[in-house]
């Protein structure tokens, strides 16, 4: 019986694999193999192409040694392109006119780099990155170059950037989308990768649309971007994606996909049953697979189909595009639905900034299956995660344990502070880590006081106290010690319980509460807490004398105490808007009282260095000019940050500034467990950084997107999208509910972010309460909020009209003198508190 002839067009990685399969198969003797290669050499390892720059020779890269084909009876035509197929005669025709008949034809023609049709793309030093010849051209071009740009920040683009970097020229990556590797990585992963790559000396430019390549002034070329910016460079490498090489198939009328690619069935047959297509040229189920592994699977399927004359059960059913690679020494991996596109999916993210590790997993709606993952900086978990994803293994109860670092020996733990690695710094003032805290707890510390003594944690700025307490409690729980959640020694209750007691028993004063439910005299923990609850529930004036002793000095003086005993003044500027007239008043007041003036991070102006006794006079002038208190001192609404929005901005899709002003005016004065910040952006560019705020709002084409429980500060948290495309009425309704639910149930000094992270059931639960009204409390929540809104009064306005209240603003009860210990010196044209050293200089020499 004569041998069947199989002709393989294209001797790339996949074409080679097919030949290898035949040669290694049982039926090799029944086939005669002929292959054509357009390239001037036999198949080489394209995946490791970049190593060519690092010194690997073209021969080192070959898939099989020179002579391998010939020795195994394979006829190979190098540098010989197939230009036509005679379907009737079943013959292929080469560029030099060679005709070879086939029984079965394999198209393994791969793909070619896509070069966007930017004017100037065909200039001499505009190159691509796919073959050894390309690399040689790059090498030659780089000789006299000092800089090079890679257009495209995908997997290949980064490889190319690495190559430029190795050639010791300044490498840039210009990426059209907003992040690197946008196909594989989510925003956080892309950001971490960018950070790491930039650290290696490659400059990354995201969201850049190149519109022209002109001649340069200081380099060969000047790239011009749609945003008006330019970048000069000596060479440009296009790595903007690949296109299937389907030219030949097209010519002879084989079925193609609408956007190219040779259509194949599960057996890898094209529309002509004797012609197969495998590798990057093949389109299966509407998809092109730009990785080598799926190509190899196709090579196996086509082989099995041919040798068993269609009896095989091996069919191509798609391929997993999960990848794990090292890009410029950085581990990057992506599995399955890494971007969380599956409807209803949830995700967990772990970021270790110091170690530059980013991990995220995407799980199914019921949290039982792993759908995808992104790993940047450390990809050790890749194997395990891939197993979960590929085999549909049931996830553990806390799926995030899969990406959290495990403590020495112990199994990785679940949510809350347990999620932090032992090395996480909890108190930055005294560099106390989670490990240090746990260690002290193991050595017997059981209260925050004992812990402070042992570690100094929370004894500096105190800002870490809440987190320290959480870590301590969780460690105590781990040790089986019952955790005391009482707010302090005076009340055997949590904040939430006190809230309920106050509301249900209609308690109006601290002392009534203390008598009925507490002991002792109260302290600096329970007094402000109860003061805040009373204000949230009854919204009475903070200067009322029953409330007065409960207030921290900031609330008490309605200003922020500074290190030298003076105060700062922050008038409200809703949405960051201020009229020129008001701005002039601020400037005049600051000048008259010699106050240090600074624009804050909250889009308003802070005046520092006012003495307690000056506060009423200053405020009288401010109130007369129409200012209100900004509550910078309160655990209350701080600012609603805004961008200019559609009124001015060419991209804005709605009036973000207007909404910000409206919201700030609605919620000003609301007292809460901790401060609350909003942000409103006019479009997804997000200039107001709304997703880092307790309440974030972003305008969309069809309404407003509402994000909740974001945080900047010590432990930043990206806000969660809770509802999309809302009209304003619904938006405000949801905000009312979320905020009041938070005010009712959070712990003292718990920001919405921490509250949310401790909320059992997470986002779904919050949605069910504030959107679906599962607890049937939304009516109450809205009514409570409306009460707060309706009873708002500017505390300063009220105070300056009350001489009794103003009496408290003297420094000395028995003398009009000033505090002589408050001394200022001048820096950069403004005052600042003198240091202790400076205070020793005679007064005449200081301001």
């Amino acid at each position: 019986m004569s041998k069947q002839r199989i002709v393989i067009v294209g001797n790339g990685m996949v074409g080679h694999k097919f030949i290898d399969n035949v040669l290694n198969g049982e039926s090799r003797d029944q086939y005669q193999l002929v292959t054509f290669s357009e390239e001037p050499r036999q198949a080489y390892d394209r995946v490791h192409l970049t190593e060519y720059f690092a010194g690997r020779s073209a021969d080192d890269l070959l898939m099989a040694p020179v002579g391998y084909y010939e020795e195994n009876g394979v006829e190979i035509h190098i540098d010989e392109k197939i230009v036509d197929i005679d379907l009737n005669a079943k013959e292929v025709i080469s560029a030099s006119g060679l005709r070879v008949a086939y029984d079965k034809l394999i198209l393994a023609t791969g793909s070619y780099p896509f070069v966007p049709p930017i004017p100037g793309h065909d200039k001499e030093h505009c190159l691509v990155y796919r073959t050894i010849e390309d690399l040689e051209a790059i090498k030659a071009s780089a000789k006299d170059a000092t800089s090079g740009v890679v257009v495209g920040g995908g997997l290949l683009g980064l490889e190319a950037a690495k190559a430029l970097h190795d050639l010791e020229i300044q490498a840039h990556v210009v990426q059209f989308s907003d992040r690197l590797m946008d196909v594989q990585l989510d925003v956080g992963g892309g950001a971490m990768l960018k950070h790491k790559i930039e650290a290696l000396g490659v400059q990354v430019h995201c969201s850049k649309n190149t519109i022209n390549i002109a001649d340069g002034e200081n380099a060969r070329y000047r790239m011009e971007f749609a945003d008006g910016e330019v970048l000069e460079t000596d060479m440009i490498l296009f790595s903007a994606g690949i296109r299937p090489q389907d030219e030949l198939a097209k010519k002879v009328g084989l079925e193609l996909g609408p956007r190219g690619g040779i259509t194949v069935n599960n057996q890898c047959q094209t529309s002509n049953e004797d012609i197969y297509a495998i590798g990057e040229c093949a389109l299966w189920n509407g998809q092109i697979f730009g990785l080598v592994a799926p190509g190899y699977q196709m090579a196996q399927v086509a082989h099995d189909h041919i040798v068993t004359t269609g009896e095989t059960e091996n069919v191509f059913t798609g391929a997993d595009m999960s990848t794990k690679l090292k890009l410029m020494g950085v581990d990057v991996a992506s599995i399955g639905d890494a971007l969380g596109r599956t409807p209803g999916s949830h995700s967990y993210t772990y970021v270790d900034e110091p170690a530059e590790i980013y991990k995220r997993i995407v799980v199914s709606e019921d949290k039982s299956k792993l759908l995808g993952a992104v790993l940047v900086g450390e990809a050790e978990d890749y194997g395990t995660l891939l197993q979960y994803a590929l085999n549909g293994i049931d996830l553990p109860e806390h799926p995030d344990s899969l990406i959290l670092p495990s403590r020495d020996g112990a199994a990785p733990a679940g949510l809350g502070p347990d999620a932090l690695p032992d090395t996480a710094q909890i108190c930055s003032c005294y560099d106390v880590t989670k490990g240090d805290i746990c260690c002290s707890v193991q050595n017997g510390a059981q209260t925050i006081g004992e812990l402070k003594d042992a570690t100094k944690a929370a004894t500096g700025c105190g800002g870490c106290a809440a987190l320290v307490t959480q870590v301590m409690n969780s460690e105590l729980e781990n040790l089986g010690v019952e955790v005391n959640t009482d707010i302090c020694e005076h009340f055997p209750h949590t904040r939430q319980e006190l809230f309920h007691i106050i509301k249900v028993e209609k308690i109006k004063t601290f002392y009534e509460l203390l008598e009925k439910h507490g002991t002792g005299h109260g302290c600096d923990i329970c007094k402000p807490t109860v003061g805040s609850i009373l204000a949230s529930v009854w919204n009475e004036h903070v200067m009322d004398s029953d409330i007065h002793p409960l207030q921290d000095t900031n609330d008490y003086y309605m200003a922020n105490l500074q290190k030298d005993g003076t105060y700062s003044i922050v008038p409200r500027m809703a949405g960051g808007e201020v009229t020129p007239e008001k701005l002039i008043v601020l400037g005049q007041v600051a000048k008259d009282y010699n106050l240090y003036t600074k624009v804050t991070g909250g889009q308003r102006i802070d005046l520092f260095g006012a003495r307690a006794e000056e506060l009423p006079e200053i405020w009288r002038r401010l109130v007369d000019a129409g200012f209100e208190t900004g509550h910078a001192y309160g655990k209350s609404l701080r600012t609603v940050k805004s961008c200019v929005g559609s009124t001015w901005c060419r991209y804005g899709v709605d009036d973000s500034a207007g909404l910000a002003v409206e919201l700030e005016n609605r919620y000003k004065g609301l007292r809460s467990p901790h401060k609350i910040k909003f942000g409103v952006s006019g479009c997804t560019r997000e200039c107001a950084e709304a997703q880092g705020k307790d309440i974030g709002i972003i305008a969309t084409e069809s309404g407003w997107n509402l994000y909740v429980c974001g945080n900047g500060g010590m432990k930043p948290r990206h806000a969660d999208l809770i509802a999309s495309d809302l009209d304003k009425e619904t938006l405000i309704q949801y905000i009312d509910r979320v905020l009041m639910f938070y005010v009712r149930t959070a712990d003292r000094l718990q920001r919405t972010s921490v509250w949310f992270d401790n909320l059992e059931g997470g986002l779904d639960y919050l949605k069910s309460v504030v959107i679906d009204d599962k607890l049937d409390i939304c009516g109450d929540l809205e009514a409570d909020m409306q009460h707060v809104v309706d009873t708002y009064e500017c505390e300063w306005k009220k105070a300056i009209d009350n001489p009794e209240k103003l009496k408290r603003f003297r420094h000395f009860v028995n003398s009009p003198e000033k505090d002589s210990n408050v001394v200022f010196v001048e820096t950069r044209g403004q005052i600042r508190p003198a240091t202790e050293e400076e205070k020793k200089i005679p007064v005449a020499e200081v301001v």
Binding site: K452, T459, G460, G462, E489, H490, Y511, G520, H521, G522, C523, D524, C526, K527, P528, S545, H548, P549, L550, Q551, D552, T553, N554, Y556, Y557, L561, K563, D564, G565, A612, K807, R808, H811, F812, V813, N814, S815, E817, D819, N821, V822, E836
Partner: protein, 108 residues
């Protein structure tokens, strides 16, 4: 210590459960009134921040001790002895205070 009492203010000038600052012989004294109208006086200078602010702290109790919490870094000082609860080595001066009728006086 002399027997010299200096009249400072009226009792009603101090809101119950809070403090005020008095100038006594060039020295700043923090003067506190509890809800039962007991009076206490200690230094106004917070030794941890070097700011004259203790009169503005929150008054309360820790265990059996009546205390004021510094408004700056929150250390507690015993109103009766002036001792810092967080650091035994730090001790503030205490002053004798009395109320005669409606008038509050400190011993200088």
């Amino acid at each position: 210590m002399s027997d010299n009492w200096i009249e400072i203010c009226k009792l009603e000038d101090i809101v119950p459960d809070t403090g005020v600052c008095a100038l006594v012989n060039e020295k700043q004294v923090a003067l506190f009134r509890t809800r039962n109208d007991d009076l206490f006086a200690i230094d106004n200078l917070d030794p941890f921040s070097n700011a004259n602010v203790l009169s503005r702290g929150i008054v309360g109790s820790l265990g059996e001790k009546l205390v004021v919490a510094s408004p700056i870094y929150k250390q507690h000082f015993c109103l009766e002895t002036g001792t810092c609860l967080e650091d035994d080595d730090v001790k503030l001066s205490v002053y004798k205070v009395k109320a005669e009728g409606n008038s509050v006086a400190i011993q200088a």
